[in-house]
Symmetry: C2
Subunit: 241 residues, 2 copies
């Protein structure tokens, strides 16, 4: 599923996806023919920066660099896979994935395993084979603003935002490394096919596989308390089906 | 921040946000003036279903219902807050949030605490006060297709998709309940302001607050192994700043 969508429409923003797209092979030829510096898939830097601002709220450096990481990964993906994505940080990078690929957090083709590293894994959901792209601090000596941002060497207020964006645009994927990886599909937790129960404590529906009462009622996971019910119906209902 | 964006542009898709929007007060008047059944914020059902298909890959019932949940929450939000969102499931619902509000997983204004309940919490980031909207199975007797889908009473292959979408469109927010909540802001984990270290094991950058080595190297969290390095530079670099 995931790869079918990547395969048929690599320039992958919602609007582009609606109007069709290119196959991976077409995309690669397209990229080779164009001599445009700083392209991110089929977008130029400014187009992508506008998309990021719209979706993310600001042209955050992390989402911009994420665009080049995805572009770099695409250039190294093998034909014929069906790719899902794992993101190793919850900060910024997932939004680049959601803007440029068909993988979203809600459709579960994007998984976040937040270990705080700036890395993305594209893996074939059948074989587990894929690539991992990551931002490498050792490649940043040429790019002092990116280095300073990435390693938090200067406080945010003192960052020279304009120079930082210029460096990101010039550096493109050159600040990333790529490696082949094999994902253990067995290790990926699947929450599929659990039946649904009604929690005897909160009386809401939840995955039966999670236990005799829902996870929210099992422990202090959720950080809120009810203040006052609006439109609350106190009558007891029974599951009639 | 979050509320500023909600406040100034309630019809909140990326494209709408780009072209400006309405204040919450304007939005409420706007909604009252219109006598359009099945509106989701400023979109009609079909417009929203197209957005969902673009972003999520299919007009998934969960994302469609999520639209009405968000619409319902908006109608009950108090003026003047700056709202962030907590989603109680990772499935489908987060994509409705990302399509209709400025909160995304990458900008951290959307938090997912996956307890498997179909619920959204909008809370003011300063006071913690907010509302919780949830899909209530006890309100589904009038909507057999929605009930069957939500409680997984029939296998997916046997679902009558057309009837299901029609019921969702007719039911609108009537299948949801709302309650006032107070979120404990202290309990929300903040990952702010950690400095960055280089992990002595993998030599990648990570949040110093996570320990002496990065979380990925601390345990078997990540489900992949390296197969072969491409473009790997073996030289050791030292952090020069």
């Amino acid at each position: 599923m995931a790869w079918q969508r990547i395969y048929y429409c690599p320039p992958l923003s919602p609007s582009i996806r609606r109007s069709g797209g290119k196959s991976l092979a077409e995309y690669k030829c397209f990229q080779q023919r164009r001599i445009i510096v700083s392209n991110i898939l089929s977008y130029n830097f400014d187009e992508y920066a506008n998309m990021v601002t719209s979706f993310h709220g600001s042209p955050a450096p992390g989402v911009l660099i994420g665009g080049y990481m995805i572009d770099y990964a695409y250039k190294n993906l093998r034909e014929g896979g069906e790719y899902d994505i794992i993101c190793e940080t919850a900060k910024c990078l997932p939004d680049a994935v959601q803007l440029l690929t068909p993988c979203s957090i809600g459709n579960r083709w994007l998984k976040i395993i937040d270990v705080g590293r700036y890395a993305l894994i594209f893996y074939d959901k059948h074989s587990g084979m894929g690539v991992r792209v990551y931002l490498d601090w050792r490649l940043l000596d040429r790019w002092p603003q990116i280095k300073s941002w990435y390693l938090k060497l200067t406080p945010k207020a003192e960052q020279d935002e304009e120079s930082l964006l210029r460096e990101i645009k010039e550096a493109r994927g050159d600040i990333c490394r790529i490696e082949d990886v094999k994902v253990s599909l067995d290790a990926l937790i699947k929450q599929k096919s659990s039946s649904i129960s009604i929690c005897p404590s909160c009386e809401e529906a939840y995955r039966s596989a999670d236990g005799a009462i829902c996870p929210a009622c099992q422990g202090g996971i959720l950080p809120y308390s009810r203040v006052n019910r609006i439109r609350c119906v106190r009558d007891k209902f029974h599951l009639s089906a």
